[in-house]
């Protein structure tokens, strides 16, 4: 199916430039997932995934994606990371029999925050299967895969933690590592992504970056001084934040840091955990991000045009979670959504305003300018010590320049973009845009926020004359190519297989090629 063409006639992301580039997006959803129930009063509600799905349908976004029902991960899939005895335990424990296994419950930290509920194991299999499936999709050459039921980042190798039992993220990254030398993990949940960080703490093939509330907060890890160990030293990045952080403060760290990370680490694939508990008004959270601010992270990571796996995570004010993930699905598709929500099965949850966006609160932002500057410079300093990925030339850049634009055209001859995709839909806008863009080109560096999202795939690929380091390719005049999209692609990617997306010959990333000279 050609997702790429989909929706192109419609609105585009405002901050992105008129024709945010289309990507092929696939989405995993299990219709049963909403029925798993952690128990009365438990803040984690898989029901929110179903609410998200309903919104996606009503906004017409499901049409724009390939939608899969995941196959459950099998024991041996789960055991690629987790200990056998832990998985055995999860498989066998039931609410009725748990009392007989008190010792094991304790040992595996199952019981209070991570209760035993009906269908626990199949829930784990479902969300893990979906994340691994997403990774396989990316390995097959898809641009973006989404699993909102995944992102359970606290689960450890041998124990459950923080509502998470099985770490689907680790499993998905392991799958991605089959095809990619380096994988980047980014975590914008309000809680530290400790399970993933720990799993990859000693390797230089996976870099983990977590933005989280730090200080008197679960899970307690995530100090800025925790940077990884042994070979993994400098490959863990922690961005400790304080209460009330708003969009602007957040992005003043996120963009420079992630830009630098992309530049020096040059991952072959990116996994983004989109925990929605960092939104304003979350039941367990204390940040003050708007949905747009949260989604800005998705846009930014998407703009590098590196295979991207989007996962869910925390998020306990469920109506806002559904809003957020629906909007971010739109971002993935390059599709802006109207604020007035269409009627849907869960409409009443969104009262009294029935809008997609909700205003952040006026809570105090405890992150001072100085603190933020300090954090940023420390982290950028750490990054400069990073022994750049093997075989990659480390490039010096001023610390907060924008990101490198991974130049995939060259790097990734595989056909990620469906050749059939009708990019031409964008054409009408393209011409006018191109003028605008070229003028923007000159001042690009100044626009720190908001601009960079989606790059235009074909265009950007062709116009490689620009510095190639900017994520915001779309700013760069690529659209002049738009009318000739199809050709452009063909030219760019001689190797692409035109028939089945799945069959595309995706070459494993060749890091060196992400960088333009």
């Amino acid at each position: 199916m050609d997702l790429s063409s989909a929706g192109s006639g419609g609105n585009s992301l405002p901050s992105v430039g008129p024709d945010g580039q289309k990507r092929r997006v696939c989405y995993f959803y299990d219709p049963e997932v909403g029925n798993y129930y952690y128990g009365q009063g438990h803040p984690m509600k898989p029901h929110r995934i179903r609410m998200t799905h309903s919104l996606l349908a009503r906004y017409g976004l499901l049409n724009q994606m390939q939608v899969y029902r995941p196959n459950p991960a099998r024991d041996r899939d789960l055991c690629r990371f987790h200990a056998d005895d832990y998985i055995n335990f999860l498989r066998s424990v039931t609410p009725e029999t748990q009392q007989d296994q008190i010792r094991l419950l304790k040992r595996f930290n199952v019981g209070e925050d991570c209760p035993v509920f009906d269908g626990l194991y199949s829930f784990c299999q479902t969300y893990a299967g979906a994340s691994v499936g997403g990774a396989v999709k990316l390995n097959h050459g898809h641009d973006i895969a989404i699993n909102w039921s995944g992102g359970l980042h606290h689960a450890k190798k041998c124990e459950a933690s923080g509502f998470c039992y099985v770490n689907d993220i680790v499993l998905a990254i392991l799958e991605l590592l089959k095809h990619h030398e380096r994988v980047l993990y980014v975590d914008i949940d309000i809680h530290h992504g400790d399970g993933v960080e720990e799993a990859f703490y000693t390797t230089d093939r996976v870099m983990t970056v977590s933005f989280h509330k730090f200080g008197d907060y679960f899970p307690g890890t995530g100090d800025i001084r925790d940077i990884g160990h042994s070979k993994g030293k400098y490959y863990s990045l922690n961005v400790p934040l304080d209460d009330g952080i708003d969009d602007e403060s957040y992005q003043s760290l996120f963009k420079p840091i992630m830009g630098k990370v992309m530049e020096v680490f040059r991952p072959g694939a990116v996994v983004l955990q989109c925990g929605a508990d960092s939104l304003s008004g979350d039941r367990l959270g204390c940040f003050n991000l708007s949905i747009r601010g949260h989604a800005e992270c998705v846009k930014y990571m998407r703009s590098f045009n590196v295979p991207l796996l989007l996962l869910g995570g925390g998020g306990y004010t469920i109506r806002n979670v559904a809003r957020c993930w629906c909007y971010e699905t739109g971002v993935a598709l390059g599709q802006e959504l109207e604020d007035k929500m269409p009627v849907n099965e869960y409409y009443e949850y969104f009262g009294p305003d029935y809008t997609l966006h909700v205003a952040p609160s006026n809570m105090e932002n405890k992150n001072t300018r100085n603190q933020l500057d300090d954090i940023r410079s420390k982290l950028l300093d750490n990054l400069s010590k990073l022994r750049h990925a093997p075989s990659v030339q480390f490039q010096e850049r001023p610390p907060d320049t924008e990101l490198p634009e991974p130049d995939e055209d060259q790097a990734d001859p595989d056909e990620r973009h469906d050749p059939d995709s009708d990019m031409e839909v964008d054409d009408h806008k393209a011409v006018e845009e191109s003028t605008r863009r070229s003028s923007i080109l000159g001042i690009r560096v100044k626009r720190e926020f908001g601009e960079n999202e989606t790059k235009i795939q074909d265009g950007s690929r062709v116009t490689s004359e620009h510095r190639g380091l900017e994520p915001m390719v779309e700013d760069i005049g690529p659209s002049k190519q738009a009318p000739a999209d199809a050709n452009a692609m063909a030219i760019d990617e001689p190797g692409n297989v035109k028939n089945e997306p799945e069959s595309s010959t995706k070459l494993p990333d060749q890091p060196a090629m992400y960088h333009k000279p």
Binding site: K45, P70, G133, C158, G162, H179, Q335, K340, D509
Partner: protein
């Protein structure tokens, strides 16, 4: 119309009903108001709520579970219209189409609404509860016959209050005294959980539990960090561990890290094609649901990302019925667009649709049950629920709870203009048991009222 629907709905589902007086907050108001005076106007919400918080319903019905039906009954008979009008006043923000909603209160529409929402006879539910299990030992539990005293005076007072909520309050001392009185009455009239429950059945609702909470509280003194606010932290007792700072360290060693194979260079073309054809791997791709048959989908691209229309031609735009109408309409459209996928994704069992397989009585029973035992730990709660609904598998109860019950509660909270809407909170905030019961819900509605007074 919408107003009617809405108010009936909130009556039916608002969570505030102070069954066990101290527990519920906020929402209780509407019931009592209605109970206190059938001619209440909806705009009385804030004030009446504040004044009556919890009292009226109990006074009139003197039995758990009856207030709602009682009200519903009354509402259907007459007060509905007025109520509807009042609620419509708040409608504009709710209006789906953004059109100001009309405030015509078509009384004729009330019955269907009540039906839709399972408004049943008061007795029925009560009997269902009594007969359905030994949860209730006996109505009234022996409490309450005493305190009635000047019941008539109080009822009259509440009636006046409800009829003219913006009238100047009496002198504060008198006002306070009356409120206290109302609360005392309510305490007396409502069952306490202790009265209705066998200790065996509700082990969690005992002194033991109380101690447990106390312990938590103390622990909180030194140990619990301040989160967003003390209030929230208080609410999150259940998840205390999330609040604790556990300065843990990332572990290093074989028990912590994933095993990562060495990178051996880019996979060769052969390896790649092997990967693609490997059945084990492709299994993880799952089943393609959309697009059907793998076709490229060329749906109405213009509609992508589209919100709701600005206006509609319903007679009462923005009303509950209006919304239901559009939701149904949209569902039909979706059904025809999605075809088989509609069923696979179970759109037919999302939202209000789920309530269609529940009879009115069952719905009432469920509501009451939830109010009776709101703070129970999950195990007990669902154990009792299952007992009450022996014919329904637990999964059905949960589906109903998530798809219908919680959503209706949000709806009613919106109607009541509560400052904070809990779309999620299925556990109810625990009031300090030492406080006069209901005082905090009183405070809350009082707050709402104050807000409303601001021009």
């Amino acid at each position: 119309m919408l107003g009617t629907a809405a108010s009936a709905d909130s009556r039916d589902h608002s969570d505030g009903v102070p069954t066990t007086a101290p527990i519920k907050r906020g929402g209780g108001s509407s019931e009592q108001r209605a109970a206190g005076d059938p001619t209440t106007t909806a705009s009385a919400t804030g004030r009446a709520a504040a004044g009556a918080s919890g009292g009226g319903g109990g006074v009139l019905t003197s039995m758990v579970g009856m207030y709602q039906h009682q009200h519903q009954h009354q509402l259907r008979d007459d007060a509905f219209g007025t109520l509807g009008g009042g609620h419509c006043g708040e409608q504009p923000r709710l209006a789906a189409g953004g059109a100001p909603s009309s405030s015509s209160p078509p009384a004729a529409l009330a019955p269907p609404l009540a039906q839709a929402h399972g408004g049943g006879q008061p007795r029925q539910l009560f009997e269902a509860l009594v007969g359905g299990g030994n949860l209730l030992r006996g109505p009234g539990g022996g409490k309450g016959s005493g305190a009635v005293g000047d019941l008539g005076v109080l009822v009259r007072w509440m009636r006046e209050l409800a009829a003219d909520p913006v009238a100047p309050l009496p002198v504060p001392s008198e006002h306070r005294a009356r409120k206290r009185h109302v609360l005392a009455l309510r305490r007396a009239r409502y069952l306490r959980l202790e009265d209705v429950a066998d200790a065996e059945e509700l082990p969690s609702f005992s002194k033991k539990r109380k101690l447990h909470w106390d312990k938590h509280k103390k622990k909180g003194c030194f140990n619990m960090p301040t989160r967003k606010s003390e209030r929230l932290a208080k609410r999150m007792k259940l998840m205390a561990s999330l609040l604790l700072t556990q300065r843990k360290k990332i572990g290093v060693g074989e028990h912590f890290q994933a095993e990562i194979p060495e990178w051996t260079g880019q996979p060769s073309g052969k390896e790649l094609s092997w990967y693609r054809s490997d059945p084990e791997t492709s299994k993880m791709l799952g089943t393609t649901i959309w697009p059907p048959g793998g076709d490229v989908n060329k749906t109405d691209i213009a509609a992508v990302g589209r919100g709701r229309p600005e206006s509609c031609s319903c007679s009462c735009p923005g009303s509950f019925f209006c919304r239901q109408h559009h939701i149904n309409e949209a569902r039909d459209r979706l059904r025809s667009e999605l075809g088989r996928a509609f069923t696979i994704w179970q759109f037919d069992s999302m939202g209000e649709e789920v309530s269609k397989v529940w009879s009115r009585d069952e719905q009432l029973k469920f509501n009451t049950l939830e109010r009776l035992i709101p703070v129970m730990d999950q195990k007990t709660y669902w154990a009792i629920a299952s007992k009450f609904f022996a014919s329904k598998p637990r999964i059905d109860l949960i589906k109903y709870y998530l798809n219908v019950f919680l959503m209706r509660r949000v709806l009613s909270q919106c109607r009541l203009g509560l400052l904070e809407i809990d779309s999620d909170e299925d556990e109810v905030e625990e009031e300090d048991e030492d406080q006069p019961e209901g005082s905090s819900s009183l405070q809350r509605t009082q707050d709402v009222q104050d807000v409303k007074k601001v021009p």
